[in-house]
């Protein structure tokens, strides 16, 4: 293998770890700044929310997905397009509630936790909680593609959801599971920013 090829492999490997390492440094810093795990969890969720409201623009610009007509379509887009695009994984969708307003995302492996071990005194820490915030923020800001001028503007498709980890490989579970719950549609209002 030539030296060139070696360098190419190096680049790719390093690239996939940049986000994981940066996230790890952030969580470590937050654990130093805040006294208890609950506060860290809240901060990760807030930061995730702020990232989500911006990420959705990037996602819609790149992915060319059409409008989601229901929560099932939304789930598909999240798992098969968004997660793949940003984290390189495709979670599976399971455990739909009878009313169709709740589902689970199952992550066989979570790239955020590569090489991470939770220290003993942080048992309440939800290490990947940023993801829940991102999902919430992105869905609150998800805007339908506008139709050409001669059609009326499509109303914003924004929804308030709850996202939370119910299983976590970091805590010894076999898989990582995020439970998503539809709360309500937000009509034509911008969500309040998270301070």
């Amino acid at each position: 293998m030539s030296r060139q090829a070696n360098r190419g492999t190096e680049s790719k490997k390093m690239s996939s770890e940049l986000f994981t390492l940066t996230y790890g440094a952030l969580v470590t810093q937050l654990c130093k700044d805040y006294e208890n795990d609950e506060d860290v969890n809240k901060q990760l969720d807030k930061m995730g929310f702020n990232i989500g409201v911006r990420l959705i623009e990037d996602f819609l610009a790149r992915s060319n997905v059409g409008r989601c007509h229901d929560f099932r379509e939304t789930a598909d887009v999240i798992a098969k397009v968004a997660f793949k695009m940003y984290l390189g994984i495709t979670p599976s969708i399971t455990n739909w509630s009878p009313a169709g307003d709740e589902f689970s995302l199952i992550l066989e492996n979570n790239p955020l936790v590569d090489f991470v071990e939770l220290p003993d005194n942080h048992s309440s820490l939800i290490y990947s909680n940023l993801l829940c915030g991102v999902l919430r923020g992105a869905l609150e800001m998800a805007v339908a593609r506008q139709l050409p001028l001669r059609f009326p503007t499509v109303p914003q498709v924004q929804m308030a959801v709850e996202a939370k980890f119910v299983q976590d490989t970091l805590k010894g579970d076999g898989v990582t599971e995020i439970r998503m719950r539809f709360i309500r549609r937000i009509e034509d209002n911008l969500p309040a920013g998270e301070e």
């Binding site: 293998m1 070696n6 360098r7 492999t9 190096e10 680049s11 490997k13 390093m14 690239s15 996939s16 770890e17 940049l18 986000f19 994981t20 390492l21 940066t22 996230y23 790890g24 440094a25 952030l26 470590t28 810093q29 700044d33 901060q43 930061m47 702020n50 990232i51 911006r54 990420l55 990037d58 695009m85 940003y86 984290l87 390189g88 790239p111 940023l130 301070e195």
Partner: protein, 170 residues
Amino acid sequence: MADEALFLLLHNEMVSGVYKSAEQGEVENGRCITKLENMGFRVGQGLIERRNTVLLLVDLFRFTKDTARFKDELDIMKFICKDFWTTVFKKQIDNLRTNHQGIYVLQDNKFRLLTQMSAGKQYLEHASKYLAFTCGLIRGGLSNLGIKSIVTAEVSSMPACKFQVMIQKL
């Protein structure tokens, strides 16, 4: 594999987060810069650590010993400017200068973490917040390549900036 957009947004959110919880003033600003720099340092170390592990495995597998991956200090700095910078920022450093006495200046004419902000002189005083993490990143990377250094940055006109690396002889 995580998209560049995700890293950029995370970095910006980290900068905001660090400053939001701080009070005003010179001392606080210094503390925030240090926090960001330290986070960058850990990440820089980690990136090189992983790289070294991969290369070690490649060597073992191929029964080769490429002990002279880097000829000298300049070779390492070129690695930072090319491979390392490309990995993190998807482009190379545009210009590398040195006085051949342990001081290197790395110039990036379109620094990725600044391109979102205004071009030109606006918001110049905030630029340092967006450079601290990267200074640490360089310092951490060099540290795991066996080089101790001090890294500072300056911006004269966004989005161009210069990183100055001062090698510390032990």
